[in-house]
């Protein structure tokens, strides 16, 4: 069976991404904002652009919409398939906290919402260095909130982990961390990222934590994976899966690098003094 997006997610994309582009006066039937695929690719540079800057006569918002149109769907499909498999047997018995690192416009949150169904609420923290991405993500989340087929999602948006203002006491809730194509970024400091993530997890929960990693199969975007993996192993995660595998969609088949790390609940209280 090819991976497809749930109707509620397709509907959301149509309303929030496809139609605004189609009705833009610059657009032609096959060229959103009047740009062919190559020009659009240049404007979004595979998701690695600075989306808060204008590009030619494109506003930051235009660039984010183009990203959502050309790139986000594929990432939604990948993460939808990942969550479909993960939750095909068993669900957490408490509501999850999702930390989406390099979230783009709510990509991991939408994928999870589509797989969980309306009964399972979760809390979503989107982290992205682009404020324009976060702003559009917030609008998609608000739209998802009004959709009866999707779960209730409390959401917050920050440009870095250190900006997460979490006031609740740590709980036992499971935490899922999404790291989708983030390591492709040239400027990312991986060790610092994992150090911050470690501190964040201590504030959020003593419950189990799962990291889902996806990336291109190419070598360069994965160059920091060994550092990333070792830093996670160092803070108690176990690597369950590290593979290249196929994704089948209605349009085409392609390959993806993916990994899954898991850390058990922190049920031993470290008192020191040994």
């Amino acid at each position: 069976m090819p991976t497809t997006l749930p109707p509620a997610i397709e509907y959301l994309r149509k309303r929030m991404v496809v139609e605004p582009l189609r009705f833009d006066t610059r657009s032609t039937p096959n060229q959103p904002l009047g740009l062919g695929p190559a020009e659009a690719r240049a404007a979004i540079s595979w998701g690695q652009a600075n989306f808060d800057e204008p590009f030619g006569n494109l506003s930051p918002r235009d660039r984010v919409l183009l990203y959502a149109y050309w790139n986000q769907k594929r990432h939604l499909e990948e993460l939808s398939e990942a969550f479909r498999q993960l939750f095909s047997h068993g669900r957490p018995n408490q509501s999850m906290i999702i930390v989406d690192l390099g979230c783009g416009p709510f990509t991991g949150g939408l994928a999870l919402a589509g797989q969980l169904g309306p009964e399972e609420e979760f809390e979503y923290i989107g982290v992205d260095r682009s404020k324009t991405m976060l702003e559009f993500g917030k609008q998609l989340a608000a739209e998802a909130h009004d959709n009866d087929e999707l779960p209730l999602i409390a959401h917050r948006w920050v440009i870095s982990i250190s900006d997460i203002d979490w006031q609740e006491a740590p709980s036992w809730r499971p935490v899922v961390i999404i790291v989708s194509f983030l390591l492709a970024s040239q400027s990312l400091e991986v060790k610092k990222l994992i150090g911050e993530l470690h501190g964040l997890l201590a504030r959020l929960s003593r419950g189990e934590a799962t990291v889902i990693y996806t990336n291109s199969v190419k070598e360069d975007p994965n160059r920091n994976f060994p550092t990333f993996r070792d830093a996670l192993l160092n803070i108690g995660f176990r690597l369950h899966t590290d593979e290249i595998g196929g994704i089948r969609t209605v349009q085409k088949d392609y390959e993806l690098r993916y990994a899954l790390f898991h850390r058990n609940s922190q049920r031993i209280l470290r008192l020191g003094g040994d």
């Binding site: 095909s88 068993g90 003593r206 369950h240 049920r267």
Partner: protein
């Protein structure tokens, strides 16, 4: 793409089950109210006793010793249990042929330093003992027990429920008894979510709130302003008539306990179980708090007990909490109730500072 499922990840979750902890090593377990510490302590002692012969469970007071015995009987376990005081008294006496020294002010306060000096050079005479409600025991007890009583200690504790001045923190217990780091129990199987939420209002400490396993009852805990003790007793009697359940009545003053006990005895049929416990009556062996009826206790004796319904009287004497110990006491008392909880004050309104110490009406229903 092929990822493991959530169930597969869960089955990888460390099997920290206390029952499977190695028997030849000391064990330290920290758990919130309703996490089943006492049952686990009994099972641990039973399992150890198959290996080593009698393994006693040592606890804080006589009501807890009674509960241990009742629970053991329920599980068909021939368990030995003891209060810390009587256990140590006998142990010291047996080893030195002397009575243990106590302070002039209180015959229950051992002079641990002297005892330790007297026992110097001694060795543990047992393989194992189990300690329940360890947070309320003096840290010197743990040092004494690990040196002279048993080679291994299995200690169950929740420092967030400790009530007394002599309480021990988890750090102190670990250091004194030379224990491993504690395993945390995460689930509360006792309280309704409504009661657990009210109790959380008084909860401090470093550990996350327990995961409440039971589903909601729709019954919020209630604040009751009672114009007289007659009305209070009437309210308790009505609850018993309507539900025939086990009711705990917690009082601060002994005189209040006696008054409510007499009023209930006048009001309810003579075959109704109405027990007033106090440590000087030493009547715990005649009481089974789990049976339908009313048990009247104080803050100290209600530790570790559980009831279908709890009436906490003299609320104005317990709040506002002015110290961590008072918060812990409120937390411990609220979590004694399985299904229904009533906080009772009066006559007259609650003082403003006491009222301000209570959570909002969506957590505690007001009159």
């Amino acid at each position: 793409m092929r990822l493991p499922t959530w169930d597969e990840l869960r089955s990888d979750e460390e099997q920290l089950d206390v029952l499977e902890a190695p028997l030849h090593k000391s064990l330290f377990v920290a758990g919130p109210p309703g996490s089943g510490k006492t049952s686990l302590a009994i099972w641990r002692a039973d399992t150890l006793s198959r290996l080593y012969g009698e393994v006693p469970v040592i606890t804080f007071n006589r009501m807890l010793r009674r509960s241990l015995r009742l629970a053991a009987r329920e599980h068909n376990i021939e368990g030995a249990s003891s209060t810390m005081h009587s256990f140590i008294w006998n142990h010291y006496r047996k080893n030195t042929n002397e009575n243990p020294p106590t302070t002039a002010a209180n015959e229950y306060d051992f002079r641990w330093r002297e005892m330790t000096e007297r026992m110097e050079g001694g060795k543990p005479d047992r393989e194992a003992v189990v300690v329940d409600e360890g947070q309320d025991l003096d840290k010197h007890f743990f040092a004494y027990a690990s040196r002279y009583v048993a080679k291994t200690l299995s200690v169950f504790a929740d420092e967030e429920q400790a009530i007394g001045q002599n309480r021990s923190t988890l750090e102190q217990i670990k250091a004194a008894a030379r224990l491993p780091d504690p395993i945390i129990l995460t689930e509360n199987h006792r309280n309704t979510p409504e009661i657990a939420l009210l109790a959380e209002h008084f909860h401090g400490g470093n550990l996350p709130a327990a995961i409440v396993v039971r589903s909601g009852s729709g019954d919020l805990p209630q604040l009751i302003c009672s114009p007289s003790m007659n009305v209070t007793a009437n309210r308790i009697a009505t609850d018993l008539r309507n539900r025939a359940s086990s009711i705990g009545v917690i009082v601060d003053r002994k005189a209040t306990g006696e008054e409510v006990c007499n009023l209930l005895r006048n009001e309810l049929p003579s075959d109704t179980r109405i027990d007033l416990y106090s440590s000087d009556l030493k009547n715990e062996e005649t009481i089974d708090v789990r049976k339908s009826g009313v048990t009247i206790l104080n803050k100290r004796s209600v530790k570790g007990q559980e009831f279908d319904a709890v009436f906490l009287l003299e609320l104005e004497r317990f709040i506002p909490c002015s110290s961590d110990a008072e918060y812990r006491a409120m937390y411990m008392m609220c979590t004694r109730a399985r299904d229904r909880l009533f906080l009772v004050h009066g006559p007259g309104p609650l003082p403003p500072d006491a009222n301000a110490a209570l959570p909002s009406a969506n957590i505690l229903r007001r009159p």
